[in-house]
């Protein structure tokens, strides 16, 4: 079933969710979170299967969906106790989806305006025939902070090598390495907190790859991830074969 999903052009995870909602004619105010989460994770898996680099945002959203799913279960356990006062954990997601949908529509409107006006070019006068004497009072009138940044950047770029104060380090990381890394922690202790796992990771790229590695290990049933109530942190537990 899931294989029928096209690799459509999605601007991001919110866009992808919106796609599921439109496709299945889901009421945005009453999202079947279990189904949507499953569809979403299947899509992510497919991306990994196709060896597509998974953007960190997609992983963040997966976390959000799982968090909502978990929270939806909690009230049922504590049933009877102030059930009405518990806010629907889906609210934040609904708000995000509605907001995103709104801007998506405006983006479409802007596109229409663009095609109407992008072919209109402004007057470009030549002042060479006018004598001029500079008037100082309005000197900054057409300069933006971006122009200042840009000018500084240009000046820096022209400076000789050794004077250039910064350079970008290229980091390399891959999922297999991070799987090894996670296993090395699990060998020391069968249960590892996510926060412990990522404490030493300084780069966002490596962090994202680590999370993808975790998802991958979950998918292959090497590990189980236990969610704490607050979801500030979660525990990674190694699974026994056949567990």
């Amino acid at each position: 079933m899931s294989y029928k999903i096209h690799l459509d052009v999605f601007e991001g995870p919110v866009d992808l969710l919106l796609y599921f909602i439109k496709r299945d004619e889901i009421n945005i105010y009453d999202i079947p979170i279990t189904k949507v989460t499953r569809d979403y994770l299947e899509y992510l898996n497919m991306m990994t299967t196709l060896n597509l680099q998974l953007a960190g945002e997609f992983v963040d959203m997966a976390a959000m969906l799982m968090r909502i799913k978990a929270k939806l279960l909690i009230p049922r356990i504590k049933e009877g106790i102030e059930n009405d006062e518990i806010e629907d954990p889906r609210n934040e997601l609904i708000q995000r989806l509605l907001e995103y949908q709104y801007f998506k529509e405006i983006g479409g409107e802007l596109q229409k305006l663009e095609s109407k006006h992008a072919g209109e070019f402004p007057r470009k006068p030549n002042w060479n025939y006018i004598d001029h004497d500079l008037m100082p009072e309005d000197a900054l009138s057409h300069v933006s902070l971006f122009d200042i940044m840009n000018a500084y950047k240009q000046a820096l770029d022209r400076m000789p090598e050794e004077a250039n104060p910064h350079e970008v380090q290229v980091e390399t990381s891959n999922i297999a390495d991070q799987v090894d890394y996670i296993f090395s922690h699990l060998h020391k202790s069968p249960r590892v907190n996510f926060s412990t796992l990522v404490k030493e990771i300084k780069s966002k790229l490596v962090l994202i790859v680590t999370v993808i590695a975790l998802l991958d290990m979950m998918k292959n049933q090497y590990i189980r991830v236990l969610q704490s109530e607050t979801f500030d942190d979660f525990v990674i537990e190694q699974r026994e074969v056949g567990d």
């Binding site: 052009v9 601007e11 991001g12 995870p13 919110v14 866009d15 953007a55 960190g56 945002e57 959203m61 708000q95 995000r96 509605l98 907001e99 995103y100 949908q101 709104y102 801007f103 998506k104 529509e105 405006i106 983006g107 479409g108 409107e109 802007l110 596109q111 305006l113 663009e114 095609s115 109407k116 006006h117 992008a118 072919g119 209109e120 070019f121 402004p122 007057r123 470009k124 006068p125 002042w127 006018i130 057409h142 933006s144 902070l145 971006f146 940044m149």
Partner: protein, 211 residues
Amino acid sequence: MANNNISIIDMQLVEALLIASDVPLTPERLKECIDDGHRVDLAETVEELNERYKVNQHAFYIMPVGKGFQIVTVNKYENVVRNYINRNVRARLTYAALETLAVIAYKQPISKPEIERVRGVNCSAVLSTLLERELITVSGRSDAPGRPLLYVTTEEFLRYFGLATPADLPRTRELDELFSHGESQPQTLEELREEQEQGQGQGQDQEKEQG
């Protein structure tokens, strides 16, 4: 033509200024150029000129841009003009860019993290494209943690989309209510600046001024 109140001199004056400049002509700028006492209603004069341009089948018209007006060529000759001024690189905006612009236009001044929260994706590439094309600019810093840069749309944004003011942005009314609680109206850089200058800013600015 329709409006006989507008003298030919006023029309010529406005036309001359529009032809000679590439910054929008505002009522204030016009006023600076006119000798005391004489009054020219810019909007009405522009309307009259546009009517004449239409009747006489000119290849340009006067477009409202922000608080001012600017001459632009008509759509019809897009390809020829594009060829001529070598702007073929200026292709249409991507969907991601349009969507990001929509977010900035409605929520300005807005920081990158806020934009990314709405769009759900990293926006660095799109922001740099929009900055390069002068559709947005940096207006200062947010007080939020990390003091991220704030972005606003520019006059070029209005011109590019043929909007007279940010209030002319397309809106979807039902969904508009989503943001009705205390969300600020779209502001132009100019307005933000005026606000800033009137010292509505917090203690820091004043402190600095005295320092």
